[in-house]
Every structure is written in C-alpha cells, then in structure tokens.
C-alpha cells in the first residue's frame, strides 16, 4: 500500500464530469460521448460517485450540484 492515496481527478474523470455537468446521462451515452470503453466508464462513475463528485438517479449520472469541481 502506498503511504498516501492519490485522490486527484484524472483527465478521464474531468472529461466525464464535463459531459454530465449540465445533463444526466446513462453509462452508455457517457461512454459514447467521451469515446471510452464501457468498462472504464462504469469503473470511473463508481469511483466518482463514491467520492461524492456525481449523483445517480434512475441509472442516469450527473455532476453533484453541491460539489464545485473547479
């Protein structure tokens, strides 16, 4: 285990957050819009949700309005 965990947002995370900033999208639609494989988008969404960056409702994801990602 590393001495500290890196919680910095990756370029991929930022791309995902950008496409769901103003609209809620499905995993498939996000994958299509950011041009990433589905497995990777599923994994990143899980992580972003667990860290509170995004919220999920009815299998649609969008940026958590209470979080300022800047």
């Amino acid at each position: 285990m590393a001495c500290v965990n890196d919680t910095q947002l990756s370029g991929t995370d930022k791309k995902i957050l950008a496409v769901i900033k103003n609209k809620a999208l499905s995993t498939e639609k996000i994958a299509e819009e950011v041009g990433l494989p589905l497995f990777k988008v599923r994994s990143r969404l899980r992580e972003l949700k667990s860290n509170g960056y995004i919220i999920e409702k009815d299998s649609l994801y969008q940026v958590n309005p209470t979080v300022n990602e800047e």
């Binding site: 494989p37 589905l38 497995f39 990777k40 599923r42 994994s43 990143r44 899980r46 992580e47």
Partner: protein, 223 residues
C-alpha cells in the same frame, strides 16, 4: 480386535475452479486503470489473462503481442485484462518501461493481484511450477460473463496471439450462426454444420446441395 484406520482431520478450503460453461467468478481488483469489477465488462467479451511477473522477458514479448492485437479485439467487442501477482506500482513501472524500450503503449488494464485473490479464484497458480507466480492462463469470458474457453501455458512458453483472435472469432461465429469450427479454422473458411440428430435429418442433410458433405455426420458450409 478390529483394526481401525485413524483419520487425521484436516481443514482444507476447496475452491471450485471455473470450467467452460460456468459463470466467471466475480471480483473487484486494483488495476493500472483503477479499481475494476468483472461486472464492469458485462456486454463485452473479455480475455482475462495472467502472466508470471513484471519485468521478465517472455511476459514482455507477450504484452507487446497482446497490445498489437488489442485494436482488432476491440473491433470484435472484446477487451483485454492482464493479471500478475505484482503491485500496481510495479505494473506502472513495467508498462512505462515497455513504452520506453519497445515503443509500445500498453492500453489495457493490468490487475495487481498481490493477495492472489483473483489468481486463486481462477486457478491461475500452478503450485508445482511456482507458488508465487501465476502461470500463463487465459480465460475467454462472454458478454453474459460465462467462461467460454480456458488455455494454460507454462512459464517457459509464450502464447500465440493469432490463436487469441482465432478463438474469439470462432466463439462469436458459433454464437451467431450455431455452427462449429474445424481444426485450424480461420474467418472465411467453411464451418461445420452440427451433426444430424435423426435418421430423417441425416438423409435430408446428405441430399442438401447447399452443404458440402463427406458423410451425414460430416458436413461443411460457407458462412
């Protein structure tokens, strides 16, 4: 006096290893692309493969080989996921080293299976060969997460990348057309029609001009 066998009680954990046709064991693992679950791959074909260790020559040739076939696999809705009993930092260093020394960018994730959780679930370790390294195992998992093919190679022998492509192509053709594929089959070759199940069908089969039959049980056709 009756002789008795004294049995020594042992507590051993017996794990049921995946077999062709069984559901692939689920896992959540740390990888070079973050934490991944097997379920993240639902809807895609997946080649889950293990290698003995990072920074070893045969494994390096295999990684270069797997990366070379990755674009073609992606076109076939097939993902690659590597695994070894190394840390994620070792994987990152090795992947960067491969790029530096061989000019190949490894784009697929690699599981850092330090606690051997995934390797043990899939029976990737051959204790008689090495208890600290995974063998060269390959599990082809379909979009419903069912194990469709298993290949094992020893530590000393690198795998054949053409066979990975050929195997997935054959499995996908089988699913799409309900056919089988003969030895050394490649895309474009004739395929095997499943043998007739009744005498009536056998008779019809040998009289079917669209098929190339040697005998009632051995018929081929174009796809």
């Amino acid at each position: 006096m009756e002789e008795r066998n004294h049995l020594v009680e042992e507590t051993t954990e017996v794990r049921s290893l995946p077999r062709i046709g069984s559901k692939a064991p689920q896992f959540e693992a740390l990888t070079t692309h973050g934490t991944l679950k097997l379920s993240d791959y639902k809807g895609s074909w997946l080649i889950l493969f293990s290698h003995p260790a990072d920074f070893t020559p045969v494994c390096t040739t295999e990684f270069v080989g797997f990366q070379k076939i990755y674009p073609e696999l992606r076109k076939m809705n097939t993902e690659l996921l590597g695994l070894s009993i190394d840390s994620v930092h070792s994987h990152i260093a090795w992947v960067r080293n491969i790029k530096e020394n061989f000019g190949v960018d490894i784009e697929f994730p690699v599981i850092a299976d330090l606690n051997k959780d995934v390797a043990e679930k899939y029976g990737m370790i051959m204790p008689e060969e090495s208890s600290t390294e995974a063998s060269r195992a390959v599990f082809v998992i379909d979009p419903d997460q069912v194990v469709r093919a298993i290949i094992y190679y020893p530590l000393s022998t690198g795998r054949n990348m053409d066979e990975m492509i050929r195997l997935v192509t054959a499995l996908q053709a089988t699913d799409e057309h309900q056919i089988a594929t003969p030895a050394d089959w490649r895309k474009g070759d004739k395929v095997i029609v499943p043998p007739a199940a009744t005498t009536e069908l056998a008779e019809e089969r040998v009289n079917d001009d669209s098929l190339e039959c040697v005998d009632w049980y051995f018929c081929k056709k174009e796809l």
